[in-house]
Amino acid sequence: MSDKPGNQENQDKEGRAGFLARLTALETIVLAGILLIALAGLMLVGKGFYMKAKAEVSQVLLKRSFEAQLQGETNVKPWPWADFSTEAEITAPRIGKTAVVLSGASGEALAFGPARLANTPAPGEPGTSVIAAHRDTHFRWLKDVKPGDLLVVTRNDGTNLTFRAGSSRIARWDQSGINANAPGRNLVLATCWPFDAAEQGPLRYIMNAELVADADPSTLAAQGESGKLPVKSF
């Protein structure tokens, strides 16, 4: 109907409102409702993608901050208001995935990268170090890690450590059975389970890995003292 503008002087004056003005009240409400729903949908989709993008993009900044740490800079923060610092880098060479690990898996740290639980030792120290990350972002690849795969952890002090993935299991978050002080130098990677669920649940997927003492020399060659473990007084 708007193709006949000449006949609608009063409506033309209102410009954009012209189309709306010809709708009945009910039609306006219906249209507004549709628009609102569309907007809410867009916002939700946007929010979802924003979370994913945040996870991806922050890894770039984290990577930069981690490299600065490797250069010997101390007290580097990925961005000035960050509430965490980078601590290590974990790589799964067989599937070609890598991620920068943060300190302290509390609050929002997990939105930016995998994080080591603060109440567990650093990877390579005696005990069991636990690194957790979201199943739908940073640890999306955890399901592809098979027993026997090597996992390389580079700590921010430059130490390169190789772990061999072992068994995996599923447990409730509060019944993990993980002992931070277990003998040996172990690494546990944890994420939510089931992998493709859309809701948050109580189950976790737990992948055990053990430090390989006589690791592949090529991995450790970069180190001055290759193969030497970071031994703390014990």
């Binding site: 949908g41 109440n119 636990v130 199943r135 019944q175 939510c192």
Partner: protein, 782 residues
């Protein structure tokens, strides 16, 4: 013209339009319903997965649940354990004045056919000093020696690797210790004896002690209600953990049954030091013998062992003889150790109207608090603000890497100010870094002087995820002035070390809130303290005697009914002089003097002093830059007094074999040559139920045999060293964080909404199109 025609055309079609309108409204409503339903299903699914906590498997226990002494073996279920059959328990508690010495002897059995490593857990009363560990494993006797922690662990690991019998008792936290026992042979019996020192609890003229006896929640589900527990997500079912269920006896928790299977003998030698009034044991039937007017011997009546209640004993003095002060001493190694207690006069302070309060709440809304932590913090703080009285003053400070003080100065807690502050708190979100120092400075320094007679309290809610602890401690100790700093720890893994120390330096208390459902209860306890302080500024000093160490230092504030309890080390074996204790109730000073030379003799005071000394050293750790030196200091005190501490452990070494090698071992035999000074007879020897009729005795024997079989059945097939150490500190089992974002769900719901909107828009435009068609048709007709 067209406008007219359109209007006229609309009239005949109005009826149709109405119908379409109704249809559209109905369609919209239906779609909205469908949408809501879909979303409802989602949230419902979440709720279900959170509530559908699998029932704890029957018969399995977790170390944290243990309410009494028990020997645990790792089970087939990771993270769960089975309790070794407890064959007998004997407890002797000696009370001398304010000092308690407890000796617990327990006999267990390894029911399996393998060599195992077990962990002995025993919940201890607060501030107990553990100094003795003796064990018999099979035919070997071993006795704990105090060693530096690392050294002790090394000795243990070496002995274990060599297949020797060995045990290691370590402190995990100040009142949690674990005792690992290695190389227990098949069918062997283990006897554990521990001794610890503690002090009598006093409150409002009532003296009491408590001994842990609660049997951990452990039961066999009734076969009738047994269902296969299918996990809704994975479709996994948890196997029936007890295949031969029909053979199993009644639930272990039945007290009468428990008494038969786990006979307990308990004796209290009570020597109160004052004429005794009434002595009661609220939960157990006892036999009481009167020794003299100050002493009683109390023992459990046979079979009276409720498994769900700790043994408690309370006593008071005959009317008018309640001691409000006491002084005891022990001489050891040329030094005198003193234990003194004073109950401040209750009347005046309690009846007085509570003092006005000036409360500054500081809340951490940094990124590390994101998620449930900030919710708990918001709830706790809102609750705290709502509890303020109109005559109180308050302010709220929030901080992340920025900081904001809500009111320019302290304001009167009128209802609208409280509402205002609560709204502010409710609106906080967690983001950004943690810069605690400016907030602390704001709370301690910029809130103006304390009004005379008012109590200044700073309540600090945080997870304590900070790196500059030392700086913060310094700030508190320098600028606390009259203020008391109370810390509230939030979240699953708050930095309790920081918060405990901060509260100690700030002369307040530390409250830990681990989950949402603890908010009300824990905050309630805190409010009681915030509102009713009885005595402040307590100090003790010696006039004429050379006191080197008085603990605790500084003295904490007292709350209703609590006594001042202090220990001190004095030079020389026969000191003289006076002990003075001063304090303030409200504005009124209070002072008491006691003559040191008149102190009565007591035993174990040196150990209590050492335990408190270690606590003090730990508390002042922030002031010591050299951690190694501090550890050394603690080690020296602990080694000198044979105490288990953070840096020292008891490691048990083989003392004497009870039999010559080669002689066959029968586990039911009484041990022969007990080493001198060892007293294990009570847990061997005659069983209390020997008097029961033959049939019943047989049944009871059968039952304990079944129990043993049940345990053996559930033990891990070949418990490894690793599995054993899992229990050693399973108290520290790692909880895993939430590792699923809602991103996928957001996108999914968003797409659904978009699809819906698209559909609705199509319907809408179709309808409009139809209308236009009708209009055109009408105009054509014209």
């Amino acid at each position: 013209m067209l406008l007219d025609t359109e209007n006229s055309a609309k009239r005949p079609s109005r009826m149709t339009a109405r119908h379409i309108e109704y249809a559209i409204v109905a369609a919209l409503a239906a779609l909205t319903l469908v949408l809501l339903f879909v979303m409802g299903v989602f949230s419902h699914a979440v709720a279900e997965t959170n509530d559908g906590k699998p029932q704890r498997l029957a018969g399995y226990v977790r170390p944290n649940d243990m309410g009494t002494g028990a020997l645990l073996f790792p089970s087939k279920e990771p993270g769960s354990f089975v309790e070794a059959p407890r064959l007998a328990t004997d407890v002797v508690i000696d009370v001398n004045g304010p000092i308690i010495r407890t000796r617990v002897t327990q006999r267990f059995q390894n029911p399996s056919k393998g060599w195992v490593e077990g962990t002995y857990v025993f919940p201890l009363p607060e501030n107990s000093a553990v100094d003795t560990l003796k064990m018999q494993i099979g035919d070997r006797f071993i006795e704990g020696e105090i060693k530096a922690r690392e050294e002790a662990r090394k000795v243990y690991e070496e002995a274990k690797a060599e297949g020797k019998k060995t045990a290691l008792l370590e402190q995990q936290r100040p009142n949690i210790f674990t005792n690992q026992v290695a190389n227990i042979g098949p069918g062997e019996t283990i006897v554990v004896q521990i001794e610890y020192q503690s002090s009598v609890h006093q409150s409002g003229g009532e003296f009491s002690l408590r001994f842990p006896m609660v049997v951990a929640p452990r039961y066999n589900p009734d076969p009738i209600i047994q269902t296969v527990d299918l996990d809704p997500k994975s479709g996994y079912a948890v196997n029936d953990p007890v295949p031969d269920r029909d053979k199993i006896a009644a639930p272990v928790l039945d007290p009468a049954e428990n008494a038969r299977i786990n006979p307990v003998t308990l004796t209290v030698n009570l020597n109160a030091g004052f004429p005794l009034g009434t002595v009661t044991s609220p939960f157990h039937q006892t036999d009481m013998q009167t020794v003299d007017d100050m002493a009683r011997t109390i023992s459990l009546k046979g079979g009276s062992v409720p498994a769900d209640k700790d043994f408690a004993l309370s006593w008071n003095a005959i009317a008018g003889k309640t001691p409000n002060a006491g002084l005891f001493r022990e001489t050891q190694g040329g030094k005198t150790y003193l234990l003194g207690f004073v109950t401040p006069p209750a009347g005046s302070a309690v009846t007085e109207t509570p003092a006005k309060r000036e409360v500054i709440f500081v809340i951490d809304n940094s990124g590390s608090m994101a998620g449930p932590s900030i919710e708990q913090a918001r709830d706790s703080l809102a609750l705290a603000i709502s509890k303020l009285k109109a005559e109180d003053k308050f302010n709220v400070v929030r901080f992340d890497d920025t900081m904001e003080v809500h009111f320019p100065t302290l304001v009167q807690a009128t209802p609208d100010k409280r509402e205002d502050a609560i709204a502010f708190v409710r609106g906080l979100t967690a983001d950004g870094g943690t810069e605690m120092l400016p907030a602390l400075e704001a709370a301690l320094r910029t809130q103006g002087p304390v009004e005379p007679g008012a109590l200044r309290q700073v309540v600090f809610l945080t997870d304590g995820a900070i790196g500059n602890e030392a700086q913060l401690f310094e700030e508190i100790s320098k600028n606390r002035g009259e203020a008391r700093v109370f810390t509230v720890g939030i979240g699953s893994a708050p930095n309790t070390h920081f918060m405990t120390k901060a509260a100690e330096i700030g002369r307040g208390t530390f409250t830990l809130i681990g989950s949402e459902d603890q908010v009300a209860a824990r905050m309630g306890e805190l409010f009681a303290k915030l509102e009713n302080p009885v005595m402040t500024d307590i100090a003790a000093d010696f006039d004429g005697a050379n006191a080197r160490d008085i603990t605790p230092n500084p003295m904490p504030d007292l709350y209703r009914g609590e006594p001042v309890v202090l220990t001190a080390q004095l030079d020389g074996a026969t000191p003289a002089g006076k002990l003075q204790i001063t304090g303030k109730t409200g504005n009124q000073p209070w002072r008491i003097e006691m003559d040191v030379a008149k102190a009565s003799e007591g035993q174990g005071i040196a150990k209590l002093w050492a335990r408190r000394k270690i606590d003090d050293l730990e508390a002042n750790a922030y002031a010591v830059n050299d951690q190694a030196a501090l550890d050394k200091q603690i080690e020296t005190v602990a080694l000198a007094n044979h105490l288990v501490s953070r840096v020292t452990s008891l490691v048990a070494v083989d003392v004497t074999p009870s039999r010559p090698t080669g002689e066959p071992v029968v586990s039911t035999d009484l041990p022969l040559n007990l080493p001198e000074g060892w007293d294990f007879e009570k847990v061997f020897g005659e069983k209390p139920q020997q008097a029961m009729p033959e049939g019943e005795r047989k049944a009871s024997l059968e039952r304990s045999e079944q129990q043993a079989m049940m345990v053996a059945d559930r033990m891990a097939a070949a418990p490894t060293a690793r599995a054993a150490s899992v229990i050693a500190d399973a108290g520290k089992q790692v909880d895993l964080p939430q590792t699923a974002t809602l991103a996928d769900r957001h996108i999914l719901i968003g797409l659904l909404l978009l699809a819906f909107a698209l559909m609705a828009a199509t319907t809408f435009s179709l309808w409009r199109w139809q209308l236009r068609g009708l209009a055109l048709e009408a105009s054509d007709r014209v």
